[in-house]
Symmetry: D2
Subunit: 384 residues, 4 copies
C-alpha cells in the first residue's frame, strides 16, 4: 500500500481507493457515493486501471437462449450484455427468438490472427527493398526474437509495405485464447530491434497504424484482424410475418436499400444496421476491450429471400476477443463469460462464435423493426 | 411488478431481477454473485435495459486535473474514465500533465447537429426529383411534423441524395443537451409520414444508413455528426524531453509516419493513435452510448514543431454526447458527469469540450511513448 | 516561331514540330512516321500541349442512336467514343439498342458546381476560427476578388474545414459551359490573397486536395463535383431475354452480388461495372480531361426487377465536362461534339445528359453479358 | 468486307469506314472532315474498335530526357505523352530537369500480378466453407483449367472471401508482358466452370468487383494490382530553389498539408497532386487502357527534407500496363513505345519503371509550383 496523499495516492488497496475518492469529492465538490458503492476487490483491479476511485455500474441482462451451431459453440446460450440503452436487449432477444424459429445460427470462424505493424524509417526505396530482403532471409531470427517474449504467441508471417522512406512490416500472430494485442506489441518490438540492428532501419513506432488497432481501416475489413467470423440463419416466412409483422420481401428490401445502397453512398466501411450496439454490450459485459468495437462495426449484414424464407448473414471481419487476459479476469466479467461457458483456456473461438450469433440476432431484429416501420415506436416506448 | 416466472419474468423490481438472476444461474449452472452485488436501484434502470440480472462493474478512475480553455469549459478538470485496460489512465494522465506544462488545451465546438436519413422508395429518377421538389415546397409542413414530436429538437435542414429508385433525405437537428438519436428518429418518422402522403414515395426505413449511426462512414468524417470539435495545445520542448524522454521532432515524426502515412496506406477513416480508447472509457463512465465510439474513432491527430515547441491538435468530427438523457441518469454515471460539472441542461457543449481535451491528452501521451520507444514496456509493466 | 534547335525547340509551327520530331527520332533511334502523319494544324494545339511532335491517333467510332430523355438533351443521339479496346463500342451499342427497346434513358442533372479548396496555415485552433469568421464577415470582398478574374464564373459558396494548423476552404463555383477547373484555380488564388491579407493566414497551396481533383475521394462521391447526374431506364423482360440471353432476375442478381456486395467488400468508392471505360472513350473523343475519369468512376449502378421489367439506374456524382474550353476546340474533338450537338455555349448540361445516357447503356450491356456468362467469350472474340 | 449499308455497316475496310462516316455525317448533319483525315490503316484497328468512322487526334509530345535508375530501365528517357491539357508537359518536363539535377529517379517494381475475382452464389455459410475447402483440395485442377486457356498466363494463387451466400474467389496471375485483363478473365471463367461442377456453387459473374478493375478500391491500394511500383529521388536544395523558386521546406510543407492532411480529410484513396494527369497522357500515347488510370490515381506521393535536400517518393499501387497486347499494336502507339524502348516481349517491367519515373517528375513539378504559389499563373499563361 502506498502512503496516502489524496489525489497523488497511487496505491491499489481499498483504503487507497477511498482516500483518492474522498480527495476527488473534495476537489470536485461532489458526492461519489454510488461510484464508491462497488463490491469488487480493488486489488483485483490493480492491473486494469490506475487512479481508481470506484466502479461504474452498467446494467447487465441477458438475451436468449439462442441456438448456436458453430464448430466450437453448439446449443442454446443465454448471452450477457451490459448497456444503458433501453430496448437493445429486448430487440436482440426478439432476434434470438426468431433465429430459434428457424435453423438457429450457423457460425464459422474463418480467420484467427492478431497483427502489429511497426513503421521504420529507411533511407529510401533502394534501402527499403534491402531491408525487406533481409527480413526474408532472416525470418527465423526475427521469429525467434518475437516468440522469445511470449509463451503462447506464434508468429504467422510478416508482410511488407514500403513507401518512400517509410517501411511498414505487418506482423501476424496466433495468440491462443488471448485477444493478444499486448502480446503482439511486445513481441513485435523485440523483433523490430533485431531488424534495426541487422539493417540500419530505424524503428519509429511499434505501431505504424497499418495494424490497424481501434481505427476503422479497410485493411482489416478486407483481410481481417482478430477473429474473422461468418454466420447465417434461415427463418420461415410465417415466423417472420407473425413476430416481426413484416414480410420477408420487406426485410430484404430494407436491408438492400439501407445496408447496401445507403452505406455505399455514405462512404461507409461495412454495411450493417447496428452491429456496434451488440458488440459494445457484449464487450462491456465480458471484459473485452470496448474500443475494439470500432473494427467490429465494419460488419457486412445481408438478407435474401431464399425459397420464400428469410435468409440473413453477417460477416464480422475483425472480432478481437479473448477468453483469457484483459478484463476477463475481473469478477463480474468472469461471471458473464461463465454464463456462456467461455472463460479461460481453449474458449476464444467458442466466444467468437457466440458473439457472432448474438450480432446476427440483433441485426435480424432491427432490420425487421425498420421494415415493419416501428423503430421509432420501439424507441419511444422503451426509451431507446 | 410482474409475476415471477424465472427467465420469462419481465419485471423491473429488485425481486424480479433476483428471480431472473437465479433462473439464469440455474440455466447456466453458474454463480452470478458478483453480478448481483450491485448497489443501484434496478427500478432506476428500467428504461435502460431489459432482462436485467445485475450490473457489470467497470473500474473507474480519473485523469487530471487537466487545464481546458474552451468556450464552455474553462479551468482544471478531474475527468472520470472507466476501463479494464491497465495503463490507459496512467497514460492519459501523463498527457494531462504535459498539456498543463504547456498552454492547457484550447477547444472549440465547430458543429452541433444530429442527423437521421430515412430511405424512401420512389418510382425512378423523375419521380425522385418531384419528391425532392415537393419537400422543398413543403418544408414548413415537414418541419412542423418533425418538431411536433419533440419539445427540444429543432429541424435544421434536409439534404437530398437520390439514386435510382432510392431517395435518401438526411435530416439535421439541433437536439439541445441530449445526444438526441431517439429524438431525431421519432421526429423524422413523423416527417416521413407527411412526405409519404404528399408524394407517393414509400418509406422503407427511417434509417437509410446515410445518417450514419454507429458505422464508420466518410460522410460523418467530412460533414460531422453530433458535436464536431477541434482542440490544440503547445508544449515547450523542455517539458516534452523531460517527461516523455523524446524530442519534439521524434514525436512529430512518429505522428507523421504513423497517423498520416500509415493510416492512409491502411485505407483508414481518420488518423490517430488510439482515440477510441479515451472515448470508450469516457463514454462508459458518463453514460454515453459506447457504440458511438465508432464515429469518434475517425479523429485526426496532428503534430508539428512550432518554434521548437510541440504543437498537437485533434479534430473529432463526430462526438455524439449529451448531458441529459440516455445513460446519464444512472447513479454512477450521473456522479461521473458531476465530477466535471457536466450533468443536466446547458452542459452538452461543455461536456464535448472536456472530452476533446481528454482525447488530446491521451493522444499526446501515446505518441510520445511510441516516439520514445517504450510502448511495449508500458504494456508489459502495467498490463496493457 | 522559335529558332530551331532540335529538342530544345519550343515553337508551335509545323516546322518546329517537324524539327523536334526529327530530333526525337535521332535521340531515340526510332521512326515516328505514324506520329507525324497527323492532319491537324499544330498551331491550333499551341495552348494544348508543349514539345509537340505529332499526334496519337485513337480509333473513333459511335454508338447509338440512343434515345435520351433529359431536360436538355432529347431525341436519338449518335455518340462518339474513342478507344483502342475492342468490344467496348459493340457492347455499349447493344446497351443502346436495349435501352431504346424500353423507355430510352431518362436523365436529370442534379448538381452543377466546380470546386477548389486551398489549404492555409493558421496559428492553431483559435486563429483558425477567427479566419473562418473573417471570411464569413467579408464574403463580399472574397467573392469580388474571385469573380474579378473571370467573366463567366460565379462563386456559389465557401465551406470551411479547420484541422489544427490547417484550414481548408472549399470554394464552389458555377462555371457556365466550361469544365472550369482553371477558372476556379485562378479565381480562388485571387480570393486567397485577400484572405491572407485580412487574416494573417498563409496560403500553402491553392489546391489542398479537398477539392478533390483527379483523385478518388469520398467528398466528391457524396457531395458531387462538376455535374452530378442521375439516369434510369426500364426495359421489358422480353427484350432483356431476347437480346441479352439473360433473365431480368439474373441481371438483378449480378448487379447485387457484384456492384453492391463485391464493391463494398473491396472498399470501393462507387459501385459499378465499368463506367470508367465509357467515360474514358467519351472524354478522349470529345476533348474532355481524361484524368477526370477518376471521379466519374465513383458511379453507382443499380438494377431492380420492377413489375417483371428490368429497371437500371446510374448516379454519376462527378462528371466534370464542358462544351467549351479545354480540348473541345481541337478539330477532331470539336467534330465529335458536333455529332451530339454539344459544342459551344449553352451545351454543357446537354453534354452531361448525353454522357450519362451512354454510361447507362454501357453498364446495362456489361451487366447483361456477365449475367449471361459470356463476358469472357466477348473478350475472346472481339479482342477485349 | 461487309456489304455497305450506312450506319449498319459492320465492316473494317477503309471503304466501310468511309461509308459509315458519311452515314453519320448525314444522320447528325455535320462534317467529320478532321475525324476522317487519319493516316492509320483501319484494318489494323479491327480488333480495337467497332463502328469506326475515323480517329481522334490527340496532340503528342515528350518530356525528358529523364534519368531513370531502375532494374529494367536505366539511362535517359525521352517519354511520350498525349494530352489536350496545356502546361502539363511543360510541368512534367520541369520535373524531369529537376530530377536530373539530383540523383535521377530510382525505381523498383515490388509487385506484378493481375487479378480477377468471380462471385459465386453458394447455399450459405457452411456450403461456402465446403467450396473453399474443395478449391484448396483441387487447386491443381483449377490451375490446369485456368492455364489451359493461355500460353503466357500463370495462376499465382486464389484468395477466398465468403460473405453469406456470396463467395468471392480472387485469382492472381502472372501475365508476362501483357496487361492481361482479358487473359485473366478467360482463364478465370474456365477455372470457375470447374469449380461450379465440383461444388454446386453457381457462377454469377466472372467479375465480382473484388478484382477490382477500373474502380477505385482499397483492396488494390493496399495489395496492389498489375505492377506495384515505388520510386524516389533526392534533389539538392540549390536546384530546388533556383528552378522551383521555392524552398525545400515549402515543398515539404505543401506535400504534408495537401497530400497527407487534405487527402485524409477528403476521404481519398491515395494521396498525391495529379498522378492521373501523367498516367492518362502516358496511357493514351502508348496504347494502354486509359480507364485504368483510375487505379493508378491511388498513388501516394511523399516529400521530406533529408539533410537539407528535397526527398520525394511515389508509391503507385496499381499500374496496369503492358508492352504487348491492347492498343500497343496500333501505329502511333507502337512508335511511342519505341521511343522508350518498351515495345514487345520482355519490356513490361521496364515500361512500368519509366512510367513511375515520369509520374514522380510530374508530382515534383506540381508540388513545387503550388509551394511557389504560381500554379494559377501557370494555368493562366499556358492555358491550363
Amino acid at each position: 500500500m502506498t502512503k496516502g496523499q489524496g489525489l497523488k495516492n497511487r496505491g491499489h488497496s481499498r483504503e487507497d481507493v477511498e482516500e483518492r475518492r474522498r480527495a476527488a469529492e473534495e476537489h470536485c465538490s461532489v458526492s461519489l457515493a454510488a461510484i464508491s458503492s462497488y463490491s469488487i476487490d480493488p486489488e483485483a483491479a490493480r492491473s486494469h486501471i490506475e487512479n481508481m476511485i470506484g466502479c461504474a455500474q452498467v446494467p447487465l441482462g441477458y438475451v436468449g437462449p439462442l441456438t448456436v451451431q458453430g464448430e466450437f459453440a453448439t446449443g442454446g446460450f443465454l448471452i450477457p450484455m451490459a448497456t444503458t440503452e433501453g430496448a437493445l436487449l429486448a430487440s436482440v432477444n426478439r432476434g434470438c427468438s426468431l433465429a430459434n424459429a428457424g435453423s438457429g445460427v450457423t457460425v464459422r470462424v474463418i480467420g484467427d490472427s492478431m497483427t502489429r505493424a511497426p513503421v521504420f524509417r529507411v533511407d529510401g526505396v533502394a534501402h527499403g527493398m534491402e531491408v525487406i530482403d533481409w527480413v526474408g532471409d532472416n525470418i527465423n531470427a526475427v521469429r525467434e526474437a518475437a516468440e522469445s517474449t511470449t509463451s503462447r504467441g506464434r508468429l504467422l508471417g510478416v508482410e511488407a509495405f514500403p513507401n518512400g522512406r517509410n517501411l511498414f512490416l505487418r506482423f501476424s500472430y496466433h495468440t491462443a485464447d488471448a485477444m493478444g494485442m499486448n502480446m503482439c506489441t511486445i513481441a513485435t518490438e523485440a523483433a523490430a530491434r533485431v531488424i534495426e540492428e541487422g539493417t540500419g532501419a530505424k524503428l519509429i513506432s511499434v505501431s505504424g497504424n497499418m495494424c490497424t488497432d481501434k481505427k476503422p481501416a479497410a485493411i482489416n475489413m478486407i483481410s481481417g484482424r482478430g477473429k474473422t467470423v461468418i454466420a447465417d440463419c434461415r427463418i420461415p416466412a410465417a415466423a417472420v410475418e407473425e413476430r416481426m409483422h413484416a414480410s420477408v420481401d420487406a426485410v430484404v428490401e430494407t436491408c438492400y436499400r439501407k445496408n447496401l445502397v445507403g452505406s455505399a453512398m455514405a462512404g461507409s466501411l461495412g454495411q450493417n444496421a447496428h452491429v456496434a450496439n451488440m458488440l459494445a454490450a457484449l464487450y462491456i459485459a465480458t471484459g473485452q476491450d470496448p474500443a475494439q468495437v470500432v473494427e467490429g462495426s465494419m460488419t457486412s449484414t445481408l438478407c435474401e429471400n431464399v425459397g420464400g424464407d428469410l435468409y440473413i448473414s453477417v460477416r464480422i471481419p475483425s472480432l478481437e476477443v479473448g477468453s483469457v487476459g484483459g478484463g476477463t479476469k475481473l469478477p463480474t466479467q468472469a461471471e458473464a463469460l461463465d454464463m456462456i461457458g467461455c472463460r479461460g483456456e481453449g474458449k476464444a473461438l467458442k466466444l467468437a462464435e457466440v458473439f457472432a450469433a448474438a450480432v446476427l440476432a440483433g441485426e435480424l431484429s432491427t432490420l425487421g423493426a425498420q421494415a415493419a416501420g416501428h423503430l421509432a415506436k420501439a424507441h419511444s416506448q422503451l426509451g431507446r
